[in-house]
Amino acid sequence: MDTTQLLKGVLDLAVLAVLREEDGYGYDILRRLREAGLEEVGDASVYGTLRRLFAAGLLTTYVVPSESGPHRKYYSLNAAGRDQLTRSGKLWRSFATTMDSLLDDRGMAA
C-alpha cells in the first residue's frame, strides 16, 4: 500500500481542507497540496476531484481575469462544502485515531 492508494480515499477531504483557508484555481490547489506534503498527488486526480466536488454541489466557481495569461477558474467552498469538510474531517480523525491505537497496541512505532 503506497501513498497513492491512500490518497484515493482522502483526496476529497484534502482538497476541501486546502480550500477552506483560501479560494484557489486548479494549479494553485495542486501546489498547496504538494506544499502540505502530499507530493505524490496526481495532476489529473486533483482536477478530476475538483470537477466531481463541483458537480456534487460542494464548490462554487468564479472566473478571475489574470493580468498575465489566461483567465482562471477559481473554486471556493460553499456552505454544503464546509459541512462536508466538517463531517469528513471528523470521520477521518476518528478513523485515524482508531488506526493509530490499533498499531500502537501491536507495538508498531509511529
Binding site: G26, A44, S45, Y47, G48, T49, R51, R52, G69, P70
Partner: protein, 336 residues
C-alpha cells in the same frame, strides 16, 4: 505557435480523444482548464509534458476516475480513429521538432514554410507546361509554348507565375471550397511534374539517336573514299580538291590503322584510308587488273565479290552503289 504551445495543443487533443466517449458537455468541463494547467506545468518544470505528467491517455484515465465519470471501455470506431489520428499527429509534430535543428531551424516546418514562395513560382511554371502539353501535343522542351508559339508561351508563363503567387499569398484567407480546388490542382501539377521527370529520364537513352539525325548531311555516313580509274582500277593515294583548290575531306580515319601521313599533315592524307576495304576490284595498280569493258553496261548476274566481299547486285544502276563511285564508271567485273 511555439514548440511548447504545440506540445500543449497535442497533449490536450490526445486527452480529449481518450475521453471521446463521454458526453460532449462533460468532456468539455473536464478539459476546460487543461490547457492553462499544462501551460503552468510547462513554464515551471524542465522536460516534456509526457515526462512530467505521463502519457495523455493515462492522464485522461486518472482524470476520468477522479471525476467519477464512467470508465471508458466501450469506445466506438470513431473514437478509436480519432485517438489514433491524434497520436499520429503528435508523432509527426515530434518528428517535425526533431528534424528542425539539423536544418538550422526550430522545426522542419519552419524551414519548409520559407520555401513556399519558391513552390508558388514552380507551380506557375508547371501549370504553363501543362497547358503546353495540352495545346501542342507531344513535342515540347523546357520552355512553355502556347499552341507552338514561344512568345505566347512566355507571356502565359509570366501570367501563371504571378497568378500562382497571388493565390499563394491569399491561401490562408480562402474559404473551404476554393482552398480544396487549389489543393487538388496543386496535387495534379505535382503528379504532372513527376511524370515529366520520368519522361525526361527515359529520353536520356534516345539522345544518341537525336545527335545522329540532327547533323544530317549528305556525306555524314561516309567513312572512306575509293577512287577508281576508267579501267576499274582502284586508285591509291588519291587526293580530292574542289574548284578552289581546297582539299576535300570526307569521312574520318576508320578503325583500320594505316601508315600515317608521310606528309606530316593529317588533312592531306590521301584516299583511301583503308585500301584493303575497297568495295570493288583489285587492290591497287600493282595487282592483276580486271579486264573492264568501259563501253558495255555491266552484267549484274556475272558480278561477284573478288576479295570475298560480295558485290552489290544492283550494279545496273551505278548511282545505287557507294556514293563515292562516280556515275558513268562501269562496274568492274571479276576475273577469277
Amino acid at each position: 505557435m511555439t514548440v511548447a504551445e504545440q506540445e500543449i495543443t497535442d497533449y490536450v487533443a490526445r486527452v480529449r480523444a481518450a475521453l471521446a466517449d463521454l458526453p460532449p458537455g462533460q468532456r468539455d468541463e473536464l478539459t476546460e482548464d487543461l490547457a492553462d494547467h499544462l501551460t503552468e506545468v510547462a513554464a515551471e518544470s524542465e522536460g516534456t509534458l509526457v515526462e512530467r505528467l505521463g502519457e495523455p491517455e493515462t492522464y485522461a484515465a486518472e482524470l476520468r476516475a477522479a471525476a467519477g465519470a464512467a470508465p471508458g471501455s466501450g469506445r466506438n470506431l470513431d473514437q478509436r480513429v480519432a485517438s489514433a489520428m491524434a497520436r499520429v499527429r503528435g508523432r509527426l509534430r515530434a518528428m517535425d521538432t526533431r528534424l528542425g535543428p539539423p536544418l538550422g531551424y526550430e522545426t522542419a516546418s519552419d524551414f519548409l514554410r520559407l520555401l513556399r514562395p519558391a513552390w508558388w513560382v514552380l507551380r506557375g511554371y508547371l501549370a504553363a507546361m501543362l497547358v503546353t502539353v495540352v495545346t501542342t501535343g507531344g513535342e515540347f522542351g523546357l520552355l512553355p509554348r502556347f499552341g507552338g508559339e514561344l512568345l505566347a508561351g512566355l507571356i502565359m508563363l509570366i501570367g501563371f507565375v504571378l497568378g500562382s503567387i497571388w493565390i499563394g499569398r491569399r491561401s490562408a484567407r480562402l474559404t473551404r471550397w476554393p482552398r480544396s480546388v487549389v489543393q487538388v490542382s496543386s496535387a495534379v501539377l505535382v503528379v504532372f511534374a513527376l511524370a515529366g521527370l520520368v519522361d525526361a529520364e527515359d529520353g536520356r537513352d534516345n539522345d544518341y539517336y537525336y545527335d545522329q539525325t540532327s547533323v544530317d548531311s549528305q556525306y555524314s555516313q561516309i567513312r572512306d573514299v575509293f577512287v577508281y580509274d576508267g579501267e576499274g582500277r582502284l586508285v591509291e593515294n588519291a587526293r580530292l580538291f574542289d574548284q578552289n583548290g581546297n582539299p576535300i575531306r570526307l569521312g574520318y580515319h576508320p578503325d583500320c590503322p594505316s601508315p600515317l601521313d608521310v606528309y606530316g599533315q593529317p588533312l592531306l592524307r590521301p584516299y583511301p584510308y583503308c585500301p584493303e576495304q575497297a568495295p570493288f576490284g583489285p587492290r591497287g595498280p600493282g595487282a592483276p587488273l580486271l579486264p573492264a569493258s568501259p563501253t558495255t553496261t555491266p552484267n549484274p548476274s556475272s558480278t561477284a565479290g573478288l576479295t570475298g566481299t560480295p558485290m552489290p547486285t544492283a550494279t545496273g544502276q551505278p548511282t545505287a552503289g557507294p556514293s563515292a563511285m562516280p556515275s558513268g564508271i562501269p562496274t568492274p567485273t571479276p576475273t577469277r
